[in-house]
Symmetry: C2
Subunit: 330 residues, 2 copies
């Protein structure tokens, strides 16, 4: 009989969590059944997302999270005894798991061979934060050599990897972090500049650090910092929204940071000016004409007569007086 320890979400978080929000319990585990295995935690992860994800779970739940564990007993050939695995088992020392009954995106997996690197990297640069940085930056920002990249939360598990990957890809990299010590560390790992957002005038420091403007922004924090960085972005800039940690512990009003919707729902948003497609104008005209002739596309015009009435037509259009296209017949 195995007795597992587990940390319970004992009280709903409000602001920064405190020790009273957690309760340690014990649980006697059942014998494993066919398809199951028993694993013992070696390393457990604590990550920012837990702060906000726990709001989805009732008080009394086990704290969620990933861990590196060793398989002690197994009735599942894919998870043999002695193998090291990553599992989203929560804050538990021992877990009985049936992988087939796990949420698809949280299915456990046997770690590939890390060679001489420590197993704990399976929770970091070779685990969830690694893929968050690697894919979240490369796939969404699509950095180009010579571009300027800004990373917020730069000294964290994800941000510190993003900045280094950006350097590998030939970019200029500026990190935002919360202490001089972190900023110093960022420079030792290759960041071109690091700004202590707690003490600096972020906007003016960023202008100095990114004189050609910002092309890519990897956003871990949301809130005011994001507004400042966005204000200094170049045309066709890309923002990868990974997290909004600046708002996780805030009061309700600030928790509604709009960036949060983009993360949780994996939304994509893009602004545009139509002349981007000037070279495909004829395609549009031919297609829209065809639809008009097929009766699938109708148009309405609100026509004002006379060149002298242009201001009136303009003011009326801005006041919503038109339906369809507002034009002036000269």
């Amino acid at each position: 009989m195995t007795v597992a320890k587990k940390w319970i979400y004992a009280r709903a978080f409000s602001g920064l969590p405190t020790a009273e929000d957690f309760r340690l319990e014990e649980e006697t585990l059942e014998q494993i059944q066919d398809g199951e295995f028993l694993a013992e935690a070696i390393f457990s992860s604590v990550d920012p997302y837990m702060r906000i994800y726990m709001a989805q779970y009732p008080v009394g739940s086990v704290m969620i999270g990933g861990q590196i564990a060793k398989v002690l007993e197994s009735k599942n050939p894919n998870f043999p005894v002695g193998s090291y695995i990553h599992g989203n088992f929560g804050w538990r020392t021992h877990t009985v798991c049936n992988p087939d009954k796990t949420e698809p995106h949280w299915v456990p997996y046997v770690l590939p061979d890390f060679g001489k690197e420590p197993l704990s990297l399976g929770l970091g640069v070779l685990g969830m934060p690694g893929s968050t940085a690697y894919f979240g930056f490369l796939e969404i920002c699509k950095p180009v050599p010579g571009e300027t990249v800004v990373v917020s939360g730069a000294a964290g598990a994800v941000g510190s990897i993003v900045g280094q990957i950006a350097k590998i890809k030939g970019c200029r990299v500026i990190g935002l972090a919360g202490s001089d010590k972190k900023c110093e560390w960022l420079k030792t790992i290759g960041f071109d500049q690091a700004i202590n957002y707690k003490t600096a005038d972020i906007a003016s420091e960023l202008k100095l650090a990114a004189p050609k403007g910002v092309d890519c922004y990897f956003d871990n924090v949301g809130g005011l910092i994001t507004e400042i960085v966005r204000g200094q972005m170049n045309s066709f800039g890309r923002i990868s929204v990974c997290g909004t940690i600046s708002c996780y512990n805030a009061e309700k009003a600030k928790v509604t940071d709009p960036q949060r919707d983009y993360v949780w729902k994996q939304l994509r948003q893009e602004g545009f000016i139509n002349w981007r497609w000037n070279d495909r104008r004829l395609e549009m005209i031919e297609q829209n004409l065809r639809w008009i002739r097929e009766g699938k596309l109708v148009y309405q015009e609100t026509v004002t007569e006379g060149f002298e009435n242009m201001p009136a037509a303009f003011i009326g259009m801005l006041s919503g007086e038109n339906t369809g296209k507002a034009i002036v017949k000269i």
Copy 2:
């Protein structure tokens, strides 16, 4: 000698423009030179963008804008006498133009044959609003049949086309417009639902109209409406930010609507959850391991010892005490 009439931006806009912001002037045009042509306006466009673009021009400038014009004289073989053209000549009755000296995205062009359709469509469904709707919706939202599409400013030149294209593409379409009359019209041209944002409880009406949530949002307005629609979007939703007209006439505080940056700078933003790339995990591990071994990627861990210290590690991480990845050694 040709005398052109032109409308001058006589006073900087503040709030909704008024007649006093404009002044009508006359200008005697020079004889055309090699490469130039003289054109006479037939239809002129008034568009929302003019309200905010004029802020870039000094008072005393000619109002900007597109027009359909007829070439009266020409020393440019690409613009023969008698041809009908689109030119961004501003609010002018007559214009001498050298296409080679025009800003690239504002170069005039001879209209293709519209058949029986009126020339004025070159300012609407077959012109700038047409391409704005056609490309801005199809290229950025990439609608899928069966999806739910919301269009704000739906009864305008662009929005009314977007909604119809969305119907052609097999989507369910909901329009937001500013009067019952406009909403009625939207239904006659195929919109499944139309909401009068001036009188309706937008959030609850939208929930009724889009019971499966919103997949694509074509945003002409920004501000509060955008916040409401975004709150009802589904995972992997796409937002095409075309304009922020709800803020164009507002006081300074509201003019800083964040959507505006996305339009003007054509920014792209995407939020994500890392498990999107779970099936490519091995690619990340192999690449990050290679970079670690090559010395290009370093990692730092902040290790807390002991399962009993997990809450302390978690709270410390949220307080910014960690550098790099925060883990707990069990």
